[in-house]
């Protein structure tokens, strides 16, 4: 059975990372920016799993890194959404350009 070379998987994760970065730069909505961050985290996860399979196929260290990244992403999403709801309550919008009170 033929398998996919490692570089192809790395290309996919690189493309996902760059798409997420573009989304982070161009969107103004706080929630869609958070979604772009989730996309970036997932591209990193693919890298960890791919390197775990191709370099150390009998170990599980990469998979545990991914599990802890998912844990931290869940905690981060909860706290970030709480902050977004709080900002919506005080400013009636979740546009990043309306949140100028922390500038300087």
């Amino acid at each position: 059975m033929e398998t996919v070379p490692l570089t192809h998987i790395l290309f996919v994760s690189t493309a996902l990372f760059c798409i997420g970065m573009y989304g982070l730069f161009t969107r103004r909505n706080l929630i869609t920016m958070l979604m772009a961050i989730e996309l970036i985290l997932n591209s990193v996860n693919i890298n960890f799993v791919a390197f775990n399979k191709y370099l150390y196929p009998y170990k599980l260290d990469g998979i545990f890194f991914v599990i802890f990244i998912i844990t931290i992403a869940a905690a981060e999403a909860a706290v970030a959404i709480a902050i977004i709801i709080n900002q919506y309550r005080t400013h009636q919008s979740i546009d990043v350009e309306d949140a100028t009170e922390l500038k300087f």
Binding site: L6, I31, T32, N45, P57, L60, V79, A82, N86
Partner: protein, 185 residues
């Protein structure tokens, strides 16, 4: 071309297309739905990479919990219409140039790496039995620390999301005086 490669190409193209749709689509609800498609394709990649448990966890945690939370918040804030203000053309151009430059550099760096083919291993390395053994033997301390992280995140989310009580000061003072009078009587 084996079945693994065909699956890989289908999954890769779907993942990149749906990720682009996440970024491009103007309606945040469609963004979330495309992001769920992306997470499913990423789970497919995990299964191809011998990490079956991780694929299931990815679907449960991301597509099941986090995305539902996002969708809920978007519905709560009435953002489900295509009125999201966009950034200016120049910022879009700058974002495209920055993302494209990073993509170019990484692809150019990856192009000359040697082709690493995997050796065939049995497919059950990523199953829950092996994972559990290693998790509770070698990774006990990070596991416990992540529980503390969850506790603090939960407390933080509740404190941040709590509504302020907003009782006027005078009524509170009056209440205190009334209770004091009641005690004196």
């Amino acid at each position: 071309m084996g079945i693994t490669q065909i699956l890989f190409w289908i999954l890769a193209i779907t993942a990149i297309f749906s990720a682009l749709m996440v970024v491009i689509s103007k309606n945040p609800v469609y963004s979330v739905l495309w992001l769920i498609v992306t997470f499913f394709t990423i789970s497919g990649h995990y299964i191809l990479l011998n990490a079956q448990f991780l694929a299931v966890v990815n679907i449960i945690v991301y597509a099941g919990a986090i995305m539902v939370l996002f969708l809920f918040v978007i519905m709560l804030m009435n953002l489900n219409k295509e009125t999201e203000p966009q950034k200016s053309k120049w910022l879009k151009l700058a974002g495209a140039v920055a993302g494209g430059c990073l993509l170019l550099v990484l692809v150019a760096g990856l192009r000359h790496t040697e082709k690493q083919m995997t050796e065939m291993v049995t497919g059950d390395i990523g199953l829950i039995q092996n994972l559990g053994k290693v998790l509770f033997k070698d990774y006990v301390v990070p596991f416990e620390i992540s529980s503390i992280l969850f506790l603090s995140a939960m407390v933080g989310a509740v404190v941040l999301g709590k509504k302020e009580p907003r009782i006027p000061v005078e009524t509170e003072m009056r209440k205190v005086e009334e209770t004091q009078q009641a005690i004196n009587i």
